[in-house]
């Protein structure tokens, strides 16, 4: 393993056509007792990656090296021990001066130090919003506009969810801030949020996780446990609310092939986070798997960060994303190979290359068509799965809807699930675009406020539902349209049965 100072690393992006990376304060920390450097604002994972550390843990049974995969705190592939606290998610944990980071040996050891647990505090609000991405932010702001007392909880250090890495201009109409880059939309929403924070209409809890649902003390009340992290230690809160909006987002899908666990095989979104949020290159040469919008957009952004994209590989016979995104890549000279797939990734301890294979009409590999491609990074952009674990624990009706990306909570047109006062919005209610997530958030926030007795603003509700319908009216809106039709139909059926 080559270790070098993470600050002057060749993997740090110095200049970028879209993002202004401001120079930050240098921070020193220890990794397996060796002193390394990173920057203020880094996560532990981004600082380690810039310093050349790609192996963060090993597999339980065969000791295979593992790196991070999702980069946004959703999977368990980057767990590490920090200051004796085990299972810290390095991809979202902030880097701090002099911390002691150590690889966990297979299963974590119990901490030696006394386990710190302060007395829990109780918080009472009208509406809890879980997740401060595009859907959650819009839900919180909409609820506050109606006069409800809101609490917005997010696991990250900042609000914006995945908007903070979307450096491209968004599509849509003026209402959806078309032509504005995702990173700018995140800032606009954050500024709106700050106004409501000032007037105490929204309370924001960052670096906090809603860990579970508990029986409420009173009827019409929901009780949750929330853990807030401070200096890698945790503080427990009891949270009582009358309604809740789940806007928990989604997680990137894995693909089955030999070597898919080698450090260097990352989710495309993880790579987007690493380079666009933390200014760290994933590597020097990338193969992108998947030509949907995520694959196409992230490939283009890799080029903008000065990283070579060898090719985009797509198993389907056609490009799934927008043609305009594909055209941007093609005119930069990046080939897109449809009816091709990845057969395996090779390398010891890290990716050295991949074998790409052509597929026949039945999506079966054609023998003899294998091609070895040198690369140090393989990005998987093969779809997302809605995050629904809290909804599942609450016992709302879930169904597997292929077009929605997996199991989702059944909900009506106003985003209410089968449990009264429990709403969903954004990717966790079915995989779609950020523009639709924002409108769904507004609908959920408004519906929840109406349930609590705030002004019944039917016209506004209707306007939002119309905006959603319009965005889904075209051929690219067909999948979410089918998903939502199935979801609301099943919801009606379940209701009829009760």
């Amino acid at each position: 393993m080559i270790l070098h100072s993470g600050v002057g690393s060749i993997l740090r992006i110095k200049k970028h056509p879209i993002i202004d990376f401001k120079s930050q304060k240098k921070i020193s920390f220890y990794f397996n007792n060796k002193k390394l450097d990173g920057f203020e604002g880094d996560t532990i994972a981004s600082a380690l990656h810039a310093a050349g550390v790609k192996i963060l843990t090993t597999s339980l049974k065969y000791n295979r090296p593992r790196g991070f995969f999702c980069g946004i705190g959703k999977c368990s592939s980057c767990l590490i021990r920090v200051n004796d606290v085990p299972n810290v998610r390095t991809c979202i944990a902030p880097l701090m001066e002099d911390i002691n980071v150590k690889m966990q040996n297979k299963l974590p050891d119990l901490p030696d130090a006394e386990f710190k647990c302060s007395a829990k505090q109780t918080i009472e609000v009208d509406i809890l919003v879980v997740g401060a991405g595009p859907a959650g932010l819009c839900a919180a702001i909409e609820g506050a506009k109606q006069g409800a007392k809101m609490l917005l909880v997010d696991e990250n250090q900042c609000v914006g969810g995945q908007l903070v890495k979307q450096t491209h201009k968004f599509f849509g109409s003026k209402n959806e801030r078309a032509g504005t880059r995702g990173i700018e939309i995140a800032k606009e929403l954050e500024n709106e949020l700050k106004e409501f924070e000032k007037s105490n209409k929204i309370k924001l809890m960052l670096d906090s996780t809603v860990i579970g649902y508990y029986e409420g003390d009173e009827k019409k009340q929901h009780k949750f446990g929330v853990v807030k992290r401070e200096n890698y230690e945790s503080k427990l809160y009891e949270l009582n609310c009358k309604a809740v909006v789940f806007a928990c987002g989604a997680m990137e899908n894995m693909l089955l092939f030999p070597g898919n666990d080698l450090p260097g095989v990352y989710g495309a979104g993880a790579v987007q986070t690493l380079m666009n949020v933390y200014g760290v290159k994933p590597g020097e040469r990338v193969i992108m798997i998947g030509a949907g919008n995520v694959g196409l957009i992230v490939s283009y952004q890799l080029l903008q960060a000065g990283i070579a994209v060898d090719r985009v590989v797509e198993a389907a016979p056609n490009i799934g994303g927008y043609h305009v995104h594909a055209a941007k890549l093609r005119r930069c000279g990046v080939p897109i190979q449809t009816s091709h797939s990845i057969k395996e990734v090779y390398g010891d301890e890290k990716v050295k290359g991949a074998v790409v294979v052509k597929l026949d009409q039945n999506w079966q590999p054609i023998k003899g068509s294998e091609e070895k491609v040198s690369c140090d990074t393989v990005c998987l952009a093969v779809g997302l799965t809605p995050s629904i674990r809290l909804l599942s624990q609450m016992g709302v009706y879930l169904e597997f809807i292929t077009e929605a990306g997996g199991y989702v909570a059944l909900h009506d047109n106003f985003m209410q699930t089968s449990v009264k006062g429990v709403y969903v919005a954004g990717d966790s209610s079915g995989i779609e675009e950020a523009s639709t997530a924002m409108i769904e958030g507004k609908i959920a926030g408004l519906s929840a406020a109406i349930l609590l007795g705030h002004k019944k603003n039917q016209n506004l509700l209707k306007q939002y539902v119309n905006e959603l319908d319009q965005l889904r009216a075209g051929p690219f809106g067909e999948k979410p349209r089918i998903a939502k039709e199935k979801i609301t139909k099943l919801m009606e059926k379940r209701h009829a049965r009760i």
Binding site: P17, F171, R181, N318, Y322, H323, L329, G474
Partner: protein, 155 residues
């Protein structure tokens, strides 16, 4: 399935192109032919040449109305609009550019086609900044007017 759905490359068959005379005044070529929910180009047009049936319909440019002002080039979120003006055996192509280094007026850069192949040289005539998108006008040989859609600037 259209060929461009497999390759990501439009051919002249996929595009409605202006007449020779219209090319002389400068015309926006909208290389956005799928039904995607997006309409900022319509709002950006000062002469209302660009229209759309609804937000999902592909935009249509009225070549008689278009004045080739290039405003839409820096606005289009898909970076899919190019303004082409043909005069005296040369073509002026205005295109969106989001890479580093940014060229200066008078620089010689490489002219690339829709597959990224180098087709010739281009002279940079104008460099504008619209937000973070650079809108760059290059001069190439008239023969390359329909093919050139990107530039490469050597560091």
């Amino acid at each position: 399935m259209h060929e461009y759905e497999r390759t990501g490359i439009l051919s002249t068959k996929d595009l409605k192109l202006p007449s020779k005379k219209q090319f002389e005044k400068g015309i926006a070529i909208l290389e956005c032919i799928q039904e995607i929910p997006c309409n900022p180009c319509v709002d950006s047009c000062p002469v209302k040449a660009i229209s759309m049936k609804d937000i999902n319909a592909p935009p249509i440019n009225d070549f008689d109305k278009c004045i080739g002002c290039t405003k839409c080039v820096g606005i289009c979120p898909g970076l899919a609009i190019f303004v082409v003006k043909i005069k005296d055996g040369k073509a002026l192509i205005t295109l969106p550019y989001e890479f580093l280094p940014v060229p200066k007026v008078g620089d010689n850069v490489k002219a690339l086609d829709r597959t990224g192949n180098i087709k010739g040289k281009a002279l940079v005539k104008k460099v504008l900044k619209i937000g973070k998108t650079m809108v760059i006008t290059i001069e190439v040989d008239e023969k390359l007017a329909i093919d050139i859609r990107n530039i490469r600037v050597d560091a």
